[in-house]
């Protein structure tokens, strides 16, 4: 808990990093000042784009003592406003899972190369980023905590599979290699409460460490203070759950 006589500072800036296939992409890196060691956090932006909320979120994790990096998963899709680039990716059916995983692996490697990062790194995502965080926890090595916030399409029917997202993440549940936190709104349509239940049943079946929190009166994206979906009470509680989970799994 912060005390008013405590020193606090951070550095936050755009950096470049190596992503999937060794491609150079940009990313936003925020770190607390000091020698650490601090745990790390990879912050995954939502499908609508690499926008301001994710840079704020990256700084928020740094404020709470995590060296955090948010890779621009749409770097290869051109540059412009986050909305214009996001709309382009929306039309293309979203970023390919394989490329996203490569970029997240690269972001993890950046954190682990920094002398002030401890040996523990988490991955956090909302919306499609929640799905991708879960996917990363199953498909990649080296994440110590996975935070899936209202990740839609973890459960996918065969008809919903696409060339960019060819496998439903729920099918990888047996490979999940880190504790999972899930936050969901009970009024969400993607994922629906039934899909969240399906996912939970699969986690139980494979004996995975997880905690799911479901919020009444909340739908999709209830942390986004700039959207009508924002739910103050649920968001405040949700952030507490996020930070408590990180303290337990990454410190």
């Amino acid at each position: 808990m912060y005390q008013t006589n405590q020193y606090e500072g951070m550095i936050a800036e755009t950096v470049t990093m190596k992503g999937h296939n060794g491609d150079t992409i940009n990313a936003y890196l925020a770190r607390p000042l000091g020698g650490g060691p601090f745990p790390g956090m990879v912050v995954i932006h939502h499908a609508p784009g690499w926008d301001e909320w994710y840079r704020e979120c990256t700084r928020r994790f740094a404020h709470h003592g995590y060296v955090s990096i948010s890779p621009n998963l749409y770097f290869r899709d051109g540059h412009g406003t986050p909305e214009d680039v996001g709309a382009k990716v929306r039309a293309a059916g979203g970023a390919p899972d394989a490329r996203v995983l490569g970029d997240l692996d690269g972001a993890n490697a950046v954190l682990r190369s920094l002398p002030y990062v401890s040996r523990k790194v988490g991955v956090f995502g909302t919306c499609s980023g929640g799905r991708q965080a879960f996917l990363a926890g199953c498909r990649l090595k080296g994440f110590d905590a996975v935070l899936d916030l209202w990740g839609g399409r973890v459960v996918q029917s065969k008809e919903e599979l696409t060339p960019n997202q060819p496998v439903a993440p729920i099918d990888y549940t047996k490979d999940l290699s880190a504790p999972l936190l899930g936050l969901f709104g009970n009024e969400d349509k993607a994922p629906t409460p039934e899909q969240v239940n399906q996912h939970e049943a699969e986690l139980k079946k494979h004996g995975k460490s997880y905690e799911f929190h479901r919020y009444d009166g909340a739908g999709h994206g209830f942390f986004y203070y700039d959207r009508g979906a924002y739910r103050q009470e649920q968001a405040v509680d949700g952030w507490k759950k996020v930070l408590t989970f990180c303290e337990r799994t990454l410190r």
Partner: protein, 104 residues
């Protein structure tokens, strides 16, 4: 996006973004998260020119009802123009100076 329901149609037209018009070559139609409309999902249409970069975009976000009424209105207007014999159902290139020769 969270539904990934999107179609692209190649087309010819012009769009206005800010003060300037640009050549529209594609329309991206999706049912997914809108950016500004206060709904979880909407029918989104982006008129774009991919060759000009992501900023060449005229965007609309519609409720399902609005989208259906728009489709009906487009069909009705085209049918009315056809009935009056004023429908110019020819490729844009043919209508440009130096395009395809006219029948006369």
């Amino acid at each position: 996006m969270c539904t990934m329901i999107a179609h692209q149609v190649k087309l010819e037209g012009r769009g206005k973004s800010g003060a300037d018009w640009f050549e529209v070559r594609e329309a991206n139609v999706s049912y997914d998260h809108p950016y500004d409309l206060p709904l979880e999902h909407a029918l989104n249409i982006d008129f774009v020119n991919e060759a000009m970069g992501p900023g060449a975009r005229v965007a609309v976000e519609l409720s399902v009802d609005a989208a259906r009424r728009l489709v009906e209105s487009i069909q009705a207007v085209l049918a009315q123009a056809d009935a009056r014999g004023v429908l110019e159902d020819i490729p844009l290139a043919a209508a440009k100076p130096g395009g395809a020769p006219s029948a006369s």
